[in-house]
Symmetry: C2
Subunit: 131 residues, 2 copies
């Protein structure tokens, strides 16, 4: 039986995509990326940690907003190139104020916001909050 | 209001990651990739279609196994760089015989198979079935 890190295939940039699911209701909250260090930090806890591709740095989710994530379950896909984590999400995952980043539904042409905002991003992220 | 394709940001390879969720029970079935053509084919139906990065070709999920997916819902994330689709999955999504590709759970070091196989991959994929 492989151990976790033996089973994982990080991409050419040393990253692996992470699907993030609410551990209670199964809602998909976001998709983000980890490098090896981010995964090690996540496993140590207490907060889920990613690699920010835009800021090119380790990113403790919620470090600015307080909307942290606690790791409840970690799964690895068949090819070892994607992670699925189930998390206990404080308040909301999306920097635009929604619980899930997937707050827009499409019929194939237009997009419709189907969720309610849970906070005002301008108050929560005075420095912009962009991941 | 943006239209769907205006809102999307395909990566430097022309691809966008797609999180695939069972529309009935919310289980995450797999993560795959689409290019513009795959998304257009998916929207036309009847079967969800991806871009196979390993085979470098358009890939109708289930074309070999019969385990096709019908699109039930399409969502776009805040940054327009990830799709979430909810699908009606015929039998099982994973080419290794499990309903979900995320059939292994990890405690941070070891990996444990937590799901039951739903079919024998060697019978279903005589040509290998590797995506």
């Amino acid at each position: 039986m492989d151990t976790l890190f033996q089973a994982l295939h990080f991409d050419q940039n040393g990253l692996i995509p992470v699907v993030v699911q609410d551990w209670k209701d199964g809602q998909i909250l976001m998709m983000a990326w980890m490098n090896r260090e981010a995964l090690e930090k996540t496993l140590k806890g207490p907060h889920v940690t990613y690699w920010s591709r835009s800021r090119k740095k380790i990113w403790v989710k919620g470090e600015e907003s307080g909307h942290t994530q606690g790791l409840k379950e970690l799964r690895v896909d068949c090819d070892g190139d994607t992670l699925l984590i189930k998390v206990d999400q404080k308040k909301a995952a999306c920097h635009e104020g929604f619980r899930s980043c997937f707050f827009r539904r499409s019929d194939g042409s237009s997009l419709t916001v189907t969720e309610k905002k849970m906070f005002d991003p301008q108050k929560t992220y005075p420095r912009g909050g962009k991941i």
